[in-house]
Symmetry: C2
Subunit: 216 residues, 2 copies
DNA sequence: CGAAGATTTAGGCGATCGGTTAAGGCGATC
DNA sequence: GATCGCCTTAACCGATCGCCTAAATCTTCG
């Protein structure tokens, strides 16, 4: 492993543990076993080092997700494959998942997260609405569903240290990961099952609002 | 508002934005409009200031959740009330939600998070298993369900800056919050609906495990 | 009032921060 | 062997960090 990769790897760990401000270049240098000045040689500034970690992460994440999107099968099978890919990727790159969490929650590099995530999310919303027109509005709107499954997945990995003490097991063990995947597939299954039906209990007290936009 | 409270409020904002290491006492002093040395007068160290923010947060959160747990009604109504309480609390205290996120993801104060969260989660698991024996194992285990709803809720608020650009609306507006609550209630409804049935597809190859404990 | 205690202030401490500098190794090319 | 370009090193810079000290100000009460 060359110097640049060793720095990137150590930087990912440090940024995940302490955030951008909290991680110091000296700490990153020490963990990667290189001289401190080498960080500023390979990456001009600490910020560009962060971008290096960040872009490398999204390059690999998007690669993994796109691969799973191209699989054949029913909608549910493809969506389940997407979930599995995300889970597998985060299980192998938890540090980087934490970095995104830091930035998405209001870091100064939020625009860089947005630029990567927005196309992914909008493609997901299109896919869902295309297959299930009921998700264009209502309490199972595609955007709400995506946010929910996104939250179910990432929280499991970001909060791993908490859940480890909570459940008394290692949430990243093969066994626990398999159970989490099975649960998520089941949640997907019962959600899609609802979308095959008309809304069962139209409690919404909006008698006039019955406008419909067929395809727009 | 006295000095101590102003410091606590500003500290919560700074810790949420930059993490424990990234937030500086000078920044906190400036934002709260007090002299820098006053922070070390009212709170001996930066760490104790953090604990002050942290404990104050959990004191109020647990108070809000316990209140909702004492409401009358069906299991679904009480669970929905719990979700609503959590959503309302995070909507009003997003900063502090981010602080917990930082620590739960591996901060140095993880033990303090664990001490507060474990009793809450275990009480939740007990309540679910007591009402729905099916959740004692399988792909809708109570722990998995709690983790999922926890993730659906907290991610919405921690990732608010991301979702704001994603959806083109303010996720903390009354309208958006109401829609999120409605969605979460619907997700709860269709999940509990599954628990009223025998597992529809008993793929689990455990034919012997049919023990039942009626009330215990 | 005046003593006593609580609160607030300016200023400075050593340590660490991100980043720079100038001087080496070191292999490839001529 | 000399030269060049890439990589690495120790030493150092000004700025900022958490924290402390001593004096000033405010509050309380006999």
């Amino acid at each position: 492993m060359n110097t640049r990769e060793r720095i990137l790897r150590a930087a990912g760990e440090c940024f995940a543990e302490s955030g951008f401000d909290g991680a110091s270049t000296r700490q990153i240098a020490e963990r990667s076993g290189v001289n401190k000045a080498l960080i500023h040689y390979h990456f001009k500034t600490k910020e560009e080092l962060f971008f290096g970690v960040f872009d490398d992460y999204y390059r690999r994440l998007i690669g993994a997700l796109v691969d799973s999107l191209e699989l054949e099968g029913t909608f549910e099978q493809r969506f389940a494959a997407l979930i599995d890919s995300y889970v597998a990727f985060l299980a192998a790159n938890r540090d980087l998942g934490c970095v995104i969490q830091w930035e998405a929650s209001g870091g100064k590099n939020i625009e860089r997260v947005v630029a990567q995530m927005v196309p992914l999310f909008q493609r997901g919303i299109e896919l869902i609405e295309e297959r299930h027109p009921l998700t264009k509005e209502g309490d199972l709107a595609a955007s709400q569903l995506l946010l929910s499954f996104y939250g179910m997945i990432v929280t499991y990995f970001v909060h791993t240290p908490l859940f480890e003490r909570l459940l008394g097991i290692d949430p990243l063990s093969d066994d626990a990961l398999q159970r989490r995947k099975t649960h998520l597939r089941r949640m997907l299954s019962i959600t899609l099952q609802q979308l095959e039906l008309r809304p069962p209990e139209p409690r919404a007290p909006s008698p006039s609002g019955t406008e419909e936009e067929p395809n727009r």
